[in-house]
């Protein structure tokens, strides 16, 4: 895991090799100047004890400022350089990740979950940014600072230097241990926090129901108990961390205590000057801040590494559904579809979702798919849109395996309207012409007419240019579905797949839309999945699925005549409607019978 993160980062670092080299050079000079200033201060103090001309002190003071200017300028350069590297790599990787996400098929996305992918696409990049910006910058600077500082101390007094190094090593060890401990504890607290917010999320989602049943006080009591548990756990963490977080500072103070005593004794024994004494005391502070930076940098490097591994995993995952090497562009398809012994295996449920599906859909015909929930209807239709690929058998369009056609060109021909109509935060127009931005207005309006969306336009504040809220929030369920259908119709596809895409539209409008499709579908192959039989009963062919198998097949009349599964579903669905239709028919002329009668009279007249 640890190496793998770096392995993903290395290719991105290649263009910055020169930057990295220059950065190291900046760090060397900057840290050198920084490490030299305590020595310089020590010299100044010694000069004082030996009695120097007052003006010379000004030189010492200016020297100190000069050193600081060098340090400041070089650290500025280093920070900007590492910032440039970090921003460049983050940008490039982020772009690559999004490109990869665009290739991921549904199954791959579902395996990770939207939340996980989103986290990798956002917060993980913050870690990668920090890896280079803070992590790299601090670690090189602090490393040089410690090395040069220790060297300078050793020259002055090897014994005292050894003491300081030991204390620094102790301090670093404590901080590293602390860092990992705190990190782990923090993760545990985060988990508790997540539990608490899951409680809040769930109950606020149900808030209206809970208040409707006067449950507020009981829910609040449950929440208070959950909070109590949270506080207990959290307090333990906070108290332990309160005990150990001042440890590094404590180690340094103890080190200072030792330096005060040992150094003092050495001066008394004439083995050390006061200036050198001061030099050591200043070093202790400076080098300790260096040690702290190294620890911080270490944590950031670790986090960045882990984040890079998470992102790298995605970057190196090939989606299941993709253009194969010999996939080709196809134009002018007629839209004849054919399933040959198709099966889909669900790994998580350990069962076949579809099995032995053989089906012929001639070009220009309409196929209806019905069956109980979980029968495999959605899977069947999504195979045609290549949302999934079959695990056995094959699906042909005009005799060509779908997998041998370039996805982009297949999707020009086959348009799939999913169950959930997905709209984006853009104007309505852009939602309709999604992926085909140059569609002329008349074509948009025609598609909107046919999907019965046009009549809603006056309701929208800016008509076609009205912004659609996040995921279509500003539209009703029916409007969303009609927009999704308009989006499909605007492309005038050869094959149109509707996956229960009319479920939120009222029956009258749904019937009108289906009529429109029928009128224009002479050259179009339609596949319609529906919970309502009314939507499919005019189809040329109807397939009844149950437990992943085709159990019945035929047109409405023949299926009714068969008197099997379909007829039973049909009977149930219209059981009440039949009754009331009769009741109504007694009172006023209603339904087709009445209309037909009228038409006949007209014809006779």
């Amino acid at each position: 895991m640890k190496d793998s993160g770096l392995q993903f980062l290395l290719p991105y670092m290649r263009p910055y090799r020169k930057h990295l080299l220059i950065g190291t050079l900046y760090a060397l000079v900057g840290a050198g100047a920084s490490a030299f200033s305590p020595t310089w201060l020590g010299w100044a103090v010694d000069a004082l004890t030996q009695g120097v001309r007052p003006n010379v002190m000004a030189l010492y003071a200016l020297g100190l400022v000069g050193l600081a200017v060098v340090v400041a300028y070089l650290r500025y350069l280093l920070r900007m350089l590492t910032g440039e590297i970090a921003a460049g790599i983050t940008y490039r990787m982020s772009q690559d990740l999004f490109h990869r996400l665009l290739l991921f098929d549904k199954e791959t996305r579902q395996r990770y979950g939207t939340g996980d992918l989103l986290a990798r696409g956002t917060s993980d990049f913050i870690y990668i940014w920090r890896f280079y910006s803070a992590g790299f910058q601090m670690s090189v600077h602090a490393l040089f600072l410690l090395l040069i500082g220790c060297g300078l101390m050793a020259i002055t007094s090897p014994f005292l230097a050894a003491l300081v190094v030991i204390m620094l090593a102790l301090s670093i060890a404590v901080q590293v241990r602390l860092g990992t401990f705190m990190e782990n504890a923090f993760v545990r607290v985060q988990q508790e926090t997540a539990k608490l917010s899951a409680f809040v999320q769930e109950h606020l989602n149900a808030a209206r129901m809970l208040t409707a049943y006067a449950q507020e006080e009981a829910v609040v009591a449950a929440f208070a108990a959950a909070n109590q548990a949270y506080v207990q756990k959290n307090l333990r963490f906070v108290i332990v961390s309160g005990a150990i977080s001042p440890l590094p500072a404590f180690v340094v103070r103890i080190a200072a205590t030792i330096v005060v005593f040992v150094g003092g004794t050495l001066i008394i024994g004439n083995q050390l000057t006061v200036g050198q004494y001061v030099q050591f005391i200043v070093y202790l502070g400076l080098l300790n801040s260096g040690a702290q930076q190294i620890t911080d940098a270490f944590i950031r490097l670790q986090q960045g590494n882990a984040a890079a591994a998470r992102i790298g995993e995605l970057l190196h995952r090939w989606p299941k559904i993709t253009d194969s090497a010999h996939a080709r562009e196809v134009t002018d398809l007629r839209g004849a579809l054919r399933f040959e012994d198709v099966g889909v295996w669900a790994e998580d449920q350990q069962r076949w979702v579809l099995r032995h599906i053989n089906l012929e859909i001639p070009a220009g015909t309409t196929l209806g798919i019905v069956g109980p929930t979980g029968a495999g209807k959605s899977m069947l239709i999504s195979l045609l849109g290549r949302i999934h690929d079959p695990d056995e058998g094959r699906i042909l369009i005009d005799g060509i395996d779908l997998r041998d056609i370039k996805l982009a060109s297949l999707r020009q021909t086959v348009v799939y309207v999913p169950q959930e109509s997905l709209l984006f935060t853009m104007p309505l127009r852009s939602n309709i012409v999604l992926g085909a931005p140059d569609t002329p207005d008349p074509q948009i309006h025609s598609a909107m007419d046919r999907s019965r969306l046009s009549k809603d336009l006056p309701q929208l504040p800016k008509g076609l240019d009205s912004m659609v809220g996040e995921r279509g929030a500003t539209l009703s369920g029916g409007q969303r579905q009609r927009t999704a259908i308009a989006r499909a119709l605007v492309r005038d596809p050869k094959v149109l797949l509707l996956d229960d895409a009319l479920s939120s539209i009222d029956m009258k409008t749904a019937a009108e839309i289906l009529n429109e499709l029928r009128q224009t579908n002479t050259a179009r192959t339609c596949v319609i999945v529906s919970q309502r039989l009314a939507a499919v009963q005019d189809a040329d062919n109807i397939v009844v699925l149950d437990h992943g198998q085709i159990v019945e097949q035929g047109n409405h009349a023949s299926l009714m005549a068969l008197g099997g599964f379909y007829a039973e579903m049909y009977r149930r669905e219209i059981a009440q409607a039949e009754e009331s239709a009769h009741a109504a028919a007694n009172l006023i002329p209603v339904g087709r019978g009445g209309q037909a009668e009228k038409e006949q009279t007209n014809g006779a007249g």
């Binding site: 201060l41 003071a61 300028y73 650290r75 009591a221 309160g242 009714m560 579903m569 009741a583």
Partner: protein, 624 residues
């Protein structure tokens, strides 16, 4: 032309000033919100808090001791060559280290004890307050926002309490003590050492402001990327199906570039700031070295004092820098506090009266008297509804979307109160009953059935512990839910996943009906029939249960099924906030008005199917 330009400039200037004023007054109110919130929440834990504060001040004072001891050592034992006295000072030095460690731990302990509890209390109060709000509020605010209030915003307060306050207090007091000690030891060097601090302060403020601005720019850019990514991850299938990949990638690139530029801008501001800070610190040190050097040479300062001042000057920098660092965190917390405070002081629109009338057994007689209702004054939802429903009747409400059906029934459970007019239950205005009593007498079955994570039993009885297993079972049986429940592994102990993911839509609806029956075994039933398609078998079960349930009590049903409408005692047709027709199925059909038209539309498809079925049957017959 020039004149126009000037007025434009003036106008912009005015606008800027106005915005500034608004911001200032907002800040003033934010400040008080934060103080009020913290004071209120911490009041029960006063003792711990005071202990923590005292210990913090002690810690700060001790911070000034080590340099002083160093000075004593250099000017005393070391100068005189007395190892014995050096021992004493060393011991004191070590003791200070131990004391600082102990005090820091102690104040953290006390502060956290008080803070964590106070914030838990605050979360509970906030949660209760949200649940007390009326439906208008709950519908109008996104759950995400409310969750953020309870988690993120409270966490921001926590950050202030456990971090910012510590820094402000400890560093602030440290600065004061150090300045005091410096003046006591050597006022000339003290003045010299402090000379640089005002500059540091001004420079810091200047840079902090710029850093804050660019960091908010960076956050905005990041939020945009996040929102874009979120939407695309949800809609990825469609992006792919409609070949929009390239366009989306282009859009992402724009956001990504903006983010990159924002990062670099932020980086630049902080890099410059840190470097300037480094130079300023060196100037301070240089001043002390030069001035102190003069002092040592002239005899008005000792070497030890000089060394101590070098340390003091460095130490005095820290508070100035860290205090300004905390400014940002405090700013964020102020916003959070203000939002929480607003939420806490938001009076729920629907409340129980101070002296409610008792509601023991409900007969279920309902009357709407001249009821007007709107969410927004210029968009009336109900426009004068008068309706009387005798006890035990079933009323079906039909009408187009937006006709006011849901609003009409929601007034009955006091999810809202009417804007004008009143609603009576058993002859008493709803607003005179206790809210909890009323809601136990009026059961609402929402269109979208909601399930919580927990057992089936929990999902039926919710948090009510006074409901026996027997009653739960009865409700489940009466609502036809028992059939599927008994087939589940564990039956009533079957664990339902969050959002009822492991139940079908139909099962959730049956469960929701069972819940209503268990929690309100008598009284009024309000039902918003589900439109979403469920599988035929469950649909039949639901249908059967509904017919049975509706017969037993006063019911208002927003009806989507023909059978419900037909079986109702009375049908109410609503259009644009008014009742336009009412009567039974037959009388309304005979009238040939709105209802008849609506009915015809709904039936069209079914009747067509019917005709076909007959034709098919006939053809089969013929074939035989």
């Amino acid at each position: 032309m020039a004149r126009d330009e000037r007025t434009l400039e003036e106008r912009l200037e005015d606008e800027r000033r106005l915005a500034e004023q608004r911001r200032l007054s907002e800040m003033a109110s934010q400040d008080s919100a934060l103080v009020k919130l913290l004071a209120y929440s911490l009041a029960p834990y006063k003792k711990w808090l005071i202990a923590a504060l005292v210990l913090m001040v002690g810690t700060a004072a001790l911070n000034a001791v080590p340099p002083y001891l160093l000075q004593q050592a250099i000017d005393g034992p070391i100068a005189r060559g007395e190892t014995g006295a050096l021992w004493q000072i060393t011991l004191l030095y070590g003791f200070t280290a131990v004391a600082l460690f102990g005090l820091t731990f102690a104040f953290t302990y006390f502060l956290q004890q008080a803070g964590q509890r106070a914030l838990a209390d605050l979360r509970v109060r906030l949660f209760r307050q949200i649940l007390r709000q009326d439906h208008g509020f709950l519908t109008g605010s996104s759950t995400g926002d409310l969750v953020a209030r309870l988690t993120n915003d409270v966490d921001q307060l926590n950050a202030v309490l456990s971090h910012s306050i510590v820094i402000v207090l400890v560093e602030g007091v440290t600065l004061i003590v150090i300045v005091g000690v410096m003046f006591a030891v050597n006022w000339r060097l003290a003045l010299l050492s402090l000379a640089i601090l005002p500059i540091v302060f001004v420079v810091t403020r200047y840079f902090r402001r710029r850093i804050r601005r660019s960091s908010s720019g960076e956050r905005t850019a990041q939020a945009r990327i996040s929102a874009f990514l979120n939407e695309h991850l949800h809609g990825m299938t469609v992006v792919q199906l409609f070949n929009r990949e390239e366009e989306s990638e282009g859009e992402f690139e724009t956001y990504n570039k903006r983010y990159r530029d924002a990062l670099i801008e932020l980086r630049w501001h902080s890099a410059v700031f840190l470097s300037v800070q480094e130079v300023l610190a060196a100037i301070g040190l240089g001043l002390i070295l030069y001035g102190g050097g003069q002092g040592v040479l002239a005899g008005w300062a000792t070497l030890g004092t000089l060394v101590a001042f070098v340390q003091y000057t460095e130490r005095a920098f820290q508070p100035v820098l860290r205090l300004s660092q905390e400014y940002n965190a405090v700013q964020i917390a102020l916003g959070a506090a203000e939002r929480i405070y607003r939420m806490l002081t938001q009076e729920p629109a629907v409340k129980s009266p101070p002296h409610p009338k008792p509601l023991h057994s409900v007969r279920g007689e309902i009357e709407y008297q001249g009821v007007h209702f709107w969410y927004l004054p210029d968009e009336p939802v109900l426009r004068g509804v008068d309706l009387k429903i005798p006890a035990g009747q079933t009323i079906a409400i039909v009408g187009a979307t937006g006709a006011g059906k849901s609003s009409l029934v929601s007034l009955l459970a006091r999810q809202y109160d009417p804007t004008r007019g009143r609603v009576l239950l058993d002859g008493v205005d709803l607003r005179e009953y206790d809210l909890d009593d009323l809601r136990r007498a009026v059961a609402v079955v929402p269109q979208d059935p909601i399930c919580l994570a927990g057992t089936i039993r929990f999902n039926i009885a919710l948090y009510r512990e006074d409901i026996s297993d027997e009653r739960i079972r009865q409700a489940a049986e009466f609502s036809n839910a028992a059939r599927f429940i008994e087939e589940l592994p564990g039956g009533y102990d079957y664990m339902v996943l969050p959002n009822g993911e492991n139940l079908s839509q139909g099962q959730r609806q049956l469960l929701s009906l069972a819940r209503a029956l268990a929690l309100c075994p008598d009284g009024v039933l309000i039902l918003d029939e589900a439109t979403s398609s469920i599988d035929t078998a469950t649909e039949a079960l639901l249908q059967e249960a509904l017919e049975r349930v509706l017969r037993t009590r006063t019911s208002l049903v927003i009806a989507h099924r023909l059978s419900t409408v037909r079986n109702a005692d009375r049908i109410i047709v609503m259009d644009r906030g008014r009742i336009v027709e009412e009567g039974t199925h037959e009388t309304l059909l005979a009238r040939g008005g709105y209802y008849a038209r609506l009915h015809r539309h709904q039936l069209l498809a079914n009747a067509e199917a019917d005709a076909k079925a007959e034709a098919a049957a006939a053809s089969k017959h013929a074939a035989d």
